[in-house]
Every structure is written in C-alpha cells, then in structure tokens.
Symmetry: D2
Subunit: 254 residues, 4 copies
C-alpha cells in the first residue's frame, strides 16, 4: 500500500519528534533535522525511509487510531490510551455496539470507540460546548470515522435520547448526575463506565450507582511505566505519569 495524495501520514524522526501530516504534492515539511519533501513520499509504500535536506532519516508510517488521538487538536485533556484500553475491555465495546458517550471533548475517546464499533455500530456523543464539538468533528473526519458517530450538541445531564444502548461512558465533571439517565438508556445487562480524576467524583458516582439498580461495580486506576532497554543499562524511566483518572464500571440489572 502506498502513500496517496490526501492521506494522513505519521512522519517519525524519533520518540519525541513525530508529526501527523496530510500528503500534498510539493509540500515541504521543515524540521530541526532538515526539510522533508513530500514528493519523496507520495507513491512510496508505507514504512518507507526518507532523507531530509540535511540527510537525516525520517520514517513514514500509516497512523494508528492511537497515533491520531495523540496528535489531534486538543481542547481539553484527553483520556490516555492506557485508560481507553481498559474501558474497551471492561465495557465490552465491539463491532456493532451502540455506545453513548459524554462529553465529546476533543473526540479522542470518540475516535477509538468509532474505530471499534465499525462497521455496524454507532457512537452517540454528547457535548454541550459547540466549539469543542466543532474541533471534535474535524478530528473525527481526519481519522476517517465520522460516519460511525452522531455528534449531539446536548448536555447529557438533560437526558440521553437513545434507548437500549449497549454501553454508556461518562467523562464529565459531575458523572453522578448522569447515572439515572444512563440507567434508563442502557439495555438490561448493559455496561456503564465513568472516568474521573478525583476520588471525590468516584465516591459520589458509586453512591449513585448503588441507589440505581447497578451491579458489579469496580473502580480501578492504571499506571504505565516505560522501560529503557539498552544492553547493560536497562532501567525504568525516571519520570512517569502518576495519575490520570479513576475508572468506575458497573452493569445494569433489572
């Protein structure tokens, strides 16, 4: 498969220097390691190595959904891939799932969910801040998954309009206020997830889940540590992310 005009490519120099770029004829991408000419890229197979004007090696790969969200325009802090993976597995989102999500934010979680419900499922994504929704729409178009998403310019606290959905995922400031509407929107046995940075949000949300007919409540956090692997010098990295958010999961029972 080769790079075509209009494709989004990931151009990699090293761990910290990488760019998500649209392939356009004659386009020049300037970096501290020289200029990269898209005429050297278009028509070449993915995975190709290209030399910059100063003879540095750059690699051209097809971006994964994770690459896309790490490079997308952000309005707010996005959910980290480590946490998204746990949300996918714990809620059982699969191709064909109908998923309600709020808030859309920059559309990072939306992008991943849309990729995994394809081709027959749908993500209904609530966001009451229109400017965020507009940015999310662009990000979803860039990721090529907008057709699997219905962006809703509504506050989820005012109620979910969908019924019998498989999964509801909340990444909002007051998730406890949306527990009741989530319960009503879910089908029997459906999965609930909430993502919150503070333990106080978690406590309020779990208390509300206990009032509604939810079961199998679990709250967890996930730490990822990178390891520098080098012969004779292997060690974990000095710095790591110590906290992103807690995840709470539950299932609706009748």
């Amino acid at each position: 498969m080769s790079v075509k005009v209009g494709d989004y490519i990931l151009l990699i120099y090293d761990k910290n220097r990488r760019w998500l770029l649209k392939a356009e004829e004659g386009k020049i991408h300037h970096t501290h390691k020289g200029a990269v000419n898209f005429n050297d890229i278009i028509g070449k197979p993915y995975g190709t190595t290209v030399l910059s004007s100063t003879n540095h090696k750059f690699y051209v790969v097809k971006p994964t959904p994770m690459d896309l969200i790490l490079k997308m325009q952000r309005t707010t802090q996005i959910i980290y891939p480590k946490d998204i993976g746990l949300i996918l597995l714990n809620t059982g989102v699969v191709p064909g799932s109908r998923v309600v999500e709020a808030g859309t934010g920059s559309g990072a979680l939306t992008t991943i969910l849309a990729n995994y419900v394809r081709p027959t499922g749908k993500v209904y994504s609530y966001e009451n801040r229109e400017e965020f929704q507009n940015i999310a729409r662009k990000n979803l178009e860039k990721a090529g998954v907008i057709e699997y998403v219905e962006l809703k310019n509504k506050d989820i606290l005012e109620g979910i309009e969908e019924e019998q959905v498989d999964v509801v995922i909340l990444d909002i400031a007051t998730p406890w206020l949306a527990v009741k509407t989530a319960y009503e929107a879910l089908k029997g046995g459906g999965n609930f997830a909430s993502y919150s940075p503070t333990i106080d949000q978690v406590q309020k949300t779990v208390k509300e889940l206990e009032k509604e007919k939810f079961t199998d409540m679990r709250t967890l956090e996930c730490l990822v540590r990178y390891i520098n692997v080098e012969e004779g010098k292997t060690r974990p990295e000095t710095r790591m992310i110590g906290h992103t958010g807690y995840m709470t999961f539950a299932r609706k029972v009748i």
Copy 2:
C-alpha cells in the same frame, strides 16, 4: 434481548462468585448460595435478577469478551485484559486488520483480537502444541468468533506463512527468535508487539529488533490497582498484581 436456549450467560452473585454457563432448559446450577433454575432465566431479558432456592439474588448478564476470557478453560497463564488493551491501542488492531499471533495458548488474546478484527479481518494464530490448540478452538467457538480465526498447528519459529500483515503479536518463550520472520511477514509500517514476563526476554528481543529494520521501539509495563469505594472508608485494595509481563512494540520500516 432475552436469553435463548444455547446462549452463554454470565451468572453473577458477587465479585468473586460468577459463572459462565450455557442456557439449557431445566438445568439447575448449584452454588453455596442455593440452586439457580434455568427455567427462571430462559426467555427473560438480559440483566434480569433471579432468586436462588435459598432466596439469594443472582444477576444474569450477557458476557463481554473480557468475561469470556476470564472464565475460559486455561492451559497456560492468559494475558491480562489490562495488557490486552494496551496491545490493541499500540498496534492499531481495528476491524479489518490481518493479524498474526503466536502462541495461541488458551485463545484468550485470540478471542479479543478476533472480536476486534470483525467482520472483514482475520487472526492467524500459531500454536505447535496440538492439545492447546484444541482447547483454544473450543474457547473460540464458545465466544462465537471462530470464523475470524485461522488456527495454525505450526511453530512460528519455523516461519510465518502470511504476507503483508498489519500486525504481528508474540507471546512465546523466545520472541527474539521470531523477530526476523515477523519482519518479513509485516507490511511496511506494520506493527510488532511482544509480551514477556522477564526482562531478559525483553533485552534479547529489543536487541534483535535493532538488528532488523524496526523503528519506534517502546517497552512498558502496566499496573492496575483496584479501589474499594465505600463512604468514609475509601482505599485501594491491600493486595494487587505486581507484575504480569512487559510489552515491547515496534514498527517495520523499509
């Protein structure tokens, strides 16, 4: 959606007592909390609450792929959901992906991969121990995803037969010996993953990745901690899993 004869259901009593069961007319499931009669379950909607002979509440839900793998017959230690989530995101497996995996083991990772490459992708799963493969086949049938998997009774160290695949995932004792064949099987820009319990395996694998034309090598580990959320008594659980395996990722360049 209601429970039909032949469905696999997850019967939940509490966090530690839950069973994956096939719905059969007249079947009685005996537990320490009384007997559950499937005649009270069949025809009822998922999410239903059923009382045992001793009046304890049990919940009937549709198992997610994660529920299936946590309850499947095991031949070896399976990869934990926390790690599978990271593998999915880091390799970019999506509906339509062609994925080579080894070894099949009990088919846990295979089950999740098969769910996510549906309906147009395929998982090619190598396993040279035939008894393991037979158990994996049953697990995949139970999970309803056998049609998206080609089980190969072959040792991946003797070579991958597929070409231009999107992703290669190794969970074998000597992943470094399969790096070369993984490189050859991958398409340009394709993603490589290896999962290993020991740091020595990681070091050998990374060394081999550096010899072949791979880029963007990352090694990481993932810790999940459960939180007991209870008003006035919220605290992380006393015990946790301290280590499962390291994950190493890379991308093929040409």
Copy 3:
C-alpha cells in the same frame, strides 16, 4: 560476637521460614526441615550455619529491629517497614528526639522509634486498651528498648501531657480529633505525622491541620515491589502489597 544464653536470635531457613527465638541451653527447635539444637548455636559467632537433624542448613543471625517487629506478637496490623522509613525521614526523628506516639498497638513503630531516639531521647506512647499495652511492653522488652519508652495507658484524644516535643506520630482511627492536642504538645517547627488506611481519614486530618497553624502539609503513599533476580529469568514478583496506608506530614508554626 557470639550467641549467649538469653539472646534473641533470628533462625533463617529461607525467605518464608524464619523464627525469632530465645537462646536456651538444650532447647530443640522443630521444623519441617528437621530439628535444630541450641547446643549447636550457643557460643558460636553470629552468622553461623547450623545443620538440622535432617542435615538442612539453617543460619543464625542477630535480628535487626525490622526482624523483631516482623516477628513480634501482633494485636493489630503493624505499620510496614517501608512506611516507617518514610516516617523517620519526614519527621526527622534522631537520637535524642522526644516523640509522642499513639496508639501503641503491638509496639512495632514504638520499637523502631525507641531504637532511633536512643540513648538520650524518649518515646511517649499512648494506648487506651490495656491488653494491647501489655503485649507491646513484652515486645519492647524483647527488643531491649523498653527503657527509652514511656507506655501511657491513656487515650490520646483526651490530651497529650508532654510539652515541647519534637515529633507527634498518630496511627489511630480518628487522627483529626488529635490534631489540636498534637499542635499544643509540639514545639515550634515540630513535626507531625499521621498514618491512615483510608482517604477519608486523610481528608479530615488535612482539613484540621489547615485550621490549626501547621504548614508544609504533604500526603503520600509508598509502594514496594520485590524483584526475583535470577540469571535469564529476572522479573518483578507476581503479587505485591497494593496499599497499606497514606502518610500525612506537617510542621507546627507559631
């Protein structure tokens, strides 16, 4: 230095099989790996290797304060050595310090503190449950540090009797109720520490510290992970302690 009658020794077989024993002439210690005769131990230098009746190797070492507390008779969960180390460093307990502690519990933290305030300091340890105090007294005598401790059969919530102390350390169910008396007992710039398993206890305590004139509040938790080091098989242990308690530190200002 050799083992004398009356000494407490640590007899080590392996990681999980070790005993704190008093050296007595003619005493036989029976284990699953044979009987160990104290006549083979008394008069030998510490560090000596002794053979059991079934020819297994046992090692005789002088117990450290940590060995003593891990083997002492317990009434309640003791504070882990990892947490004690952080408490020592963060409160600045040193030889000569005057330290108030509550509750005494089994006397584990008391034992370590008493060791480090020697020879000129003192630990004032409050405990209102007399049966706990009696066990703690025996543990402190066994550890040889009872002379550096004043065991007080009083509830710290009713007030600290000492004045101008260097450090106050609380390991009680309701530390926030003792913040005011801790403030009064401390000298200017004195260090406060509280150890609590739940986040709710921490929140209440910090709120109270903010009401009194404390500064430099810090709350932290400590995770220790053991590594199995074996050539070609090095990896962290599968299971670890995920939570013991949070530690909160502060300094009194005037």
Copy 4:
C-alpha cells in the same frame, strides 16, 4: 528553642520555595515574594512566622536531616529519602552501628547514616574522587555530624580496611566488584546493601552474592506517590518519580 547566630534554618514559603540558610545578623534574603530580614528571625523561637518586605508569610523551622540532604550542594544524584528509609530498616543501622559506605558522593546518605549511628557508632565513607569528598565534608559539617564520619579518600574496590563492621552499603557503578571485600569486612550476620539504577547491575551483584557466603538476598524497588488533598478535589499528583534505583540486601553467613 530560639534561632541563634550561626544556626542553619529552613525558610519555607511554599512546597517548592524553601531555602537552607545560615542565620547571620543583618543578613537579607531576597526572594520573588520580597526580602526577609534575619534580624526578624534571630532570637525568635523555631516555628516563627516572619513577614517579608512585601508582607508575604515565611516560616522558619529547624531543618531535619532530610531537609539538609534535599538542599545540600550536589555533585551527583543523591539517594532519595524513600530509599534511605528502606536501607536503614533493612540493614538495621542503629545508634552504635559501625557502617562502611561507598561512594560518599555529595554525602547525602552519609549525613543520614551519621545521624542514626550517633553517638557511639561510626560511618566509614569511601570516595576516590577528592573533589567530591571535599563537598561532602562541607555538607557533613553543615549538618553537624562530621564527628561521626571518617571520610576515606580511597577506592572501595581496592579493599575495605575496617573489620567486623555491622553494615556495608554500596552506591557505586560496579557493586559486584566490591562484594568480596564487603564480605570480608562484615562481621558474621552483618548486613549488606547495594543501590543501583539498572537491572543489569543488580543481576551481576546478586550473582556475586550467591558466590560468596551471603543469605537472605532481597531486591526491591520503592515508588512514592504524592496525593493532593483538597476538599472535593482529592487526587494523586499527575507526575511522579517512576524510578530511582533498585536496592539489594543480604546477610553474611559463615
């Protein structure tokens, strides 16, 4: 106790702005929050609050040994307090202990050890880089514990001169090369500790410990996470230190 001319004080503005300063008459300390005049500090009790020229509150406390090492002049990365606490407890350093340490580095670990062996013990600290030793000497004088330390301008790899010591602690690039001399210097049952950033150093050291007559080998790592405690907003801090060094402990047997 009040601040006297010549005392070292810790001046605290907030978590990140704090200074270790020598009290001198008429001295003015300039900060972004105004100037602090030592005439307002000298003669006042420790714990006093002083106002800067711009009316900001500063607190004056007596520095703990931990404060001293966090503020001392550094030549190399110091061992973190979290790790020092574990080393103290695992090696059983107490007042009266005779401890060999290498390398001295900036004298951070030396400072803490010297504080805890007081008043009858001694720390023998090896360092072959004279410029490091000079800085360490100044740091130890500032900390008031130089009399409990013998600074030795020697390479520990050339042999330990002391005999029958209680503890040997190594923080050097090639600890495995000093295992034999450590064994010889230790008394029977004596405690060995080694601190190393890489897993490769640990593997080599443990292999060497197994060749000599050591028992009770343990390798561990310690992670400390800070919690932001604020009503309704309590959460772990976003960033944390992911790795400092592995600690390996063992005991000499005969």
